[in-house]
Symmetry: C2
Subunit: 331 residues, 2 copies
DNA sequence: CTGAAAGCGCTTACAG
DNA sequence: CTGAAAGCGCTTACAG
């Protein structure tokens, strides 16, 4: 080991690097040598020698969705920083069975922990259970708490409530809502957040102002159109995600309904879309990249402590969200 | 090594796995043992022992653009399959100097090859030169050949020409073009492809039908609007990318210009956007995920052969593109 | 607090 | 074609 250049044993270098108790002189010498030689620890050697494996598996829908992009980004950024290797297995969206196969494949390849994507992870959990994984697992970007799984997520209920209250504060009363089908995990918190805000401020929820759609632009366009064609249309529409919200924007444009003058529109997720439409879309930001980094960090910590004590239950990390008010609500 | 379970030496297992000449009996015994034990080679050990390093560094703009998502996806998929480790360094778009720093950082961390993203990679190349990297480098998704760098890309010139010819074949003569500023590498091939097709079919290029914009929806909206407000507006508009094309779609909607009845619109890149607008957008598909996988494979091969012979010059892999004709052109 | 010993699972370079 | 030897760069578990 080159850093014995400092006149000390390789062991001492290892000790310094790993934060073992060392003398000040020792530390200084080692750090000087490291600096001078531009030394960087060899990950492969470290992985081989240490009992603790540092491979994390990732289930990933092979799509180009901005949220997926951010997830991958955050995971790989953390992996690079922490020296863990990432293994990616593609999944096909509704096929939960294939998910379990992929998890098994990852474990066979040495993954000591698994990172699960939103929706798919939650659906696997409700179909299976944590024990099936037999290793630390985190579902990143889960819409809500998952009974059997650790999560890193925002409080979507609170976010939906806040954004609805923001709309009420801007003077809206007839606030339409585009909900997701109930089978999707993201349905409940966003919908209930909307309801809670309406109730709390004594605003009546008109059934005619509620429409359902399944994620996509076209569904937002159609559902938004139905609401706008009402004899007494809403003055604001809160869509369960950005794609549907951009559909609403298009529905308004087609009908010459001015946004935000005659109609305010709000989305959810604040993806790349939100700022590539006109007018720029108010949306709830889900900091997926940071959440995914956090998930990798926590997974690594869990892996390392598994050898030692505390096999605790699932934990939830709830990170703060922000609401970006933009021109689509007159901001 | 567990697979000596087969009653042979670890060396033989290694030979079998690495395709060294072995007897049939040997191979059978080893494969049986592998099967039985569910054995998977330890990447870390392999990396440590082999002279050939298997770490590839990746410069990456930390954005949520669908093309970035696909790039990351493809790279990580190939990395998982080939057992190479990926290191990611975030870059900030126009700061080429930071790019060189990041490359140095990656090399220090053990990266034996570098994967460069579109635009940024090409701009670094024209500002620096291959020798600066001192290792195999590929610029994935480059718009055109790069004199000093290997590339994996589509023939954007040909694609732009084809799509323009498709428009001509559909009866259009007044075909507008939204070009990128000349400083961006993607400008030239797309623009020249358009010009070549027009010339080839004897269709006059009207200067008034050419507008310039810088990638974003808003720019497409504005530039598209200018063309549509002309006394004699174009019947088709070819935008240099999907964001601008969706801007054109919005500009048409605002003016109640029916797409595709009165106006056809074409984009470039065929990102997630193209199918999340109305009408679905005709666009040139850049298979970024597959291209990025290919780039990782080639980089690995180059790393392995570097120890041996042939330090050849930069190579270009041109993969086939497809044009997805959709409703925005009446298909 | 420090370091000599042994080993992580593979491969290279070589001898049979 | 096959395998005994040595070593990749680190760490664990221990003795000083």
């Amino acid at each position: 080991m080159v850093a014995a250049h400092a006149g000390v044993s390789p062991m001492s270098v290892s000790n310094v690097l790993n934060g073992q108790p060392t003398s000040v002189a020792m530390r200084a010498a080692v750090h000087a040598a490291i600096e001078e030689l531009g030394y960087v620890p060899n990950l492969a050697a470290r992985q081989l020698a240490s009992a603790a494996p540092t491979i994390i598996g990732l289930l990933h829908a092979n799509d180009e969705h901005p949220v997926s992009a951010a997830l991958l980004n955050g995971a790989l950024t953390a992996a690079t920083r922490l020296g863990v290797q990432l293994l990616l297995e593609p999944i096909v969206f509704p096929e939960l069975a294939s998910g379990w196969e992929k998890v098994a494949a990852l474990r066979r390849r040495g993954a000591a922990a698994i990172l699960l994507p939103p929706t798919f992870g939650e659906m696997m959990a409700s179909a299976g259970g944590r024990e099936e994984f037999e290793c630390p697992v985190i579902c990143v970007g889960a819409a809500d708490e998952v009974p059997t799984l650790s999560t890193v997520r925002i409080d979507e209920f609170a976010a939906a409530q806040e954004v609805t209250e923001g709309l009420i504060a801007r003077g809206h009363r007839r606030i339409g809502f585009l909900r997701l089908p109930a089978k999707f995990p993201a349905h409940a918190p966003r919908w209930h957040g909307y309801l809670a805000a309406m109730r709390r401020h004594g605003v009546t929820v008109e059934p005619e102002l509620i429409a359902e759609g399944e994620f996509w632009f076209q569904e937002g366009l159609a559902a938004g159109g139905r609401l706008l064609d009402l004899p007494d249309p809403p003055t604001a529409i809160f869509a369960s995600n950005d794609e549907m919200a951009t559909g609403v924007l298009a529905a308004a444009q087609i009908r010459r309904v001015a946004v935000p003058k005659e109609l305010s529109v709000v989305g959810f997720e604040d993806t790349y879309f939100a700022q590539n439409v006109w007018p720029p879309l108010t949306s709830v930001k889900i900091p997926m990249s940071a959440m995914s980094s956090t998930a990798v960090e926590r997974l690594l910590r869990e892996i390392r402590s598994v050898a030692k004590p505390s096999p605790s239950g699932p934990t939830s990390v709830v990170v703060p969200h922000t609401i970006n008010w933009r021109a689509s609500t007159g901001d």
